[in-house]
Symmetry: C2
Subunit: 375 residues, 2 copies
């Protein structure tokens, strides 16, 4: 198998459907791209596998396969992962959400897209596509996971958010026509918390023509590739690190976790002590700060990596990614960091999801530049 270290996928390698084998790889890849968030992938996998067994593989399409006016619904779960991991994905919500999206747009949907490829939000769209009998678009709105509603490529690309639709587990459907992306986060978060802190959401409903340049293409294929890189190889960690083009920031043991759920988010920090290095001196201490996702990594006050670059905590042996709500004291982990999609490095991209968008008074430095400096 050929693994690419860049994000560009050639036409030959693009997957054209999700079956049971692909699903398993997709799950592992999405966990890595989740950078700790987007929901634990383990929880929806059973339901998605059941759907694939029942209704067959889900077709995967590319933008160029769709007519210009075809409607795409970018879908995701919204809420604190500590809550959504406890909730089984329901079937009724997605039908309610589709009905409302089609009522709002006045015509039928043509495809489902993952709003964020990271975590369970990269996996569950396969279930939703299967339930709705629609293809899945080989693209997403982040190329990773981010905690807030407005942190999507469509917003960075300047597409006004026409609609945000939430369907909660109780059966409520709420349709928001927000003034802008920031309002979409504020109101959708409030609706999500009021409806039980977890809901199914369509953030925008867009045409294929609008999606061009405003979504990150090829990320379903990319996630499957990353998942495949960790299976059947002698050294999964090296294989994954190479496939990602990542820097390894530290290999060690989790020695401290502080984590709380509130306002619809998981927030906190985790400290990793290096092991396996210079064995007579105390190990380096590396701290990761979290808001659903891993946001920034510090060592002795120095920044090692930050959003929008991707930071993932993986099991050192299996290279399986560990979500922020599954981090436990004593786990042996490696912290990987790698460059985000170029879209996030534009001025507007950094405005939306750079360190300052998360309250850090630091300037963004691309992870590969920090690496070059440290070496």
């Amino acid at each position: 198998m050929v693994i690419q270290t860049t994000r560009r996928i050639s036409a030959m390698q693009q997957i054209d459907h999700i079956d049971l084998e692909t699903l398993s790889a997709l799950g592992r890849g999405c966990a890595v791209l989740g950078t700790g968030g987007g929901g634990d992938v383990g929880s929806p996998l059973v339901a998605v596998a059941h759907a694939l067994k029942e209704r067959g593989p889900v077709p995967v399409v590319r933008l160029e396969d769709l007519p210009a006016d075809a409607l795409i619904a970018p879908l995701s779960g919204i809420g604190a992962p500590t809550v959504s991991v406890e909730m089984l994905p329901g079937e009724a919500e997605v039908h309610r959400l589709r009905a409302e999206a089609e009522r709002f747009m006045g015509r039928p949907l043509a495809a489902v897209m993952s709003s964020e490829i990271g975590g369970s939000n990269g996996v569950e769209p396969v279930l939703w596509a299967s339930l709705l009998g629609l293809p899945l678009l080989d693209a997403d709105g982040m190329g990773r996971a981010f905690p807030e509603v407005q942190m999507v490529s469509m917003h960075v690309a300047g597409l006004p958010v026409n609609v945000v639709i939430l369907a909660d587990l109780a059966g409520n459907v709420t349709t928001i026509q927000p003034l802008d992306g920031n309002w979409s986060e504020r109101i959708a978060r409030a609706v999500c918390v009021a409806g039980g802190a977890t809901a199914l959401m369509a953030d925008y409903v867009i045409t294929a023509a609008q999606a061009k340049g405003a979504v990150i293409e090829g990320t379903v294929t990319r996630a499957v590739e990353l998942g495949r890189a960790t299976v059947g190889v002698a050294d999964p960690l090296s294989s994954l690190t190479e496939a990602l083009g990542a820097r390894s920031l530290v290999t060690g043991k989790i020695v401290d976790i502080e984590r709380r759920t509130g306002g619809g988010f998981v927030r906190g920090s985790v400290v990793i002590e290096e092991i396996g290095g210079r064995d007579t001196t105390p190990g380096r201490l590396v701290r990761i700060e979290i808001q659903n996702e891993n946001l920034a990594v510090f060592e002795d006050g120095d920044l090692l990596a930050s959003v929008p670059d991707l930071i993932s905590v993986v099991d050192t042996q299996s290279a399986l990614a560990i979500s922020t709500e599954s981090l436990r004291y004593g786990q042996r982990v490696t912290v990987l960091a790698w460059p985000c999609d170029p879209l996030w490095r534009t001025e507007r991209g950094l405005e939306v999801a750079g360190p300052r968008a998360f309250g850090y008074a630091i300037d963004y430095v691309p992870v590969e530049e920090i690496g070059a400096r440290l070496v």
Copy 2:
């Protein structure tokens, strides 16, 4: 002028438009029916008067004037009165709300109704009707004011809430299709708080046929009558008390107020010490408990009146009603209480807005029965 002590209005007395004179009476009457809530009437009166001067009187229609399938939008402001009293009513929100209501229903609105006749929510619909060029229905959804979204006659009558639409001052429009009335309150309140703690709301959009038996008719006329009863008379308090068919619970001075704004509500209590009675003994102390509206009146632990019956604090001299956010230490006031619409005394009515719906572990006793007992 003939004042009726019952809520039934004969056809002869029904008003057929709101002009400047009627508006002034409407404002005073709505303040009384607001039982302390529904927003201070003073704040919107200028804007409504300006609209009437500019575009002429607003026609008032009855259900029987409308075709069975005519669409009625019950409108109100939602939020803490302490916030909304600071905000001038805007014009853009009601146009945005109408556009969304018509999009949702697929056809044009025929009339505007006040969701609650009490307080500014009984007055502002005149402005909204004027701005939209629609008639105002001589009816409302409470016959008074209540603090929560589901506390409307349509809900008591068993009409499933098809839609709740909120338009906030920032420009966001949110459309909720709630599972039931309780969810409508929970989600609408969250959206309201997220959007700045005040918003314009359509709670249900109903046809004239659905409205029959599910709205409280004649309440615009009733409010105008009550307002007229306090002007140009020697003893406004007696005239109002008679027009209401009310009991006077205490006349005295406000000696204590505790009031806070949070979660979209004003909550607290006010204590009134009787004056003008037995002059050598200490005056009786009467306590009113508040959640936007006056909910219950106690004296030495005994209930004197409670929701859903109406409790209004009025200025002892002028008989002008005082809203809960305008209560001040030292004000000379009289507390009046009178029977609610029979709809609120049904089993379902008491479930929705009886004392237990507000967290009081007491059984409802009609105010006239408590009165008979005390006498």
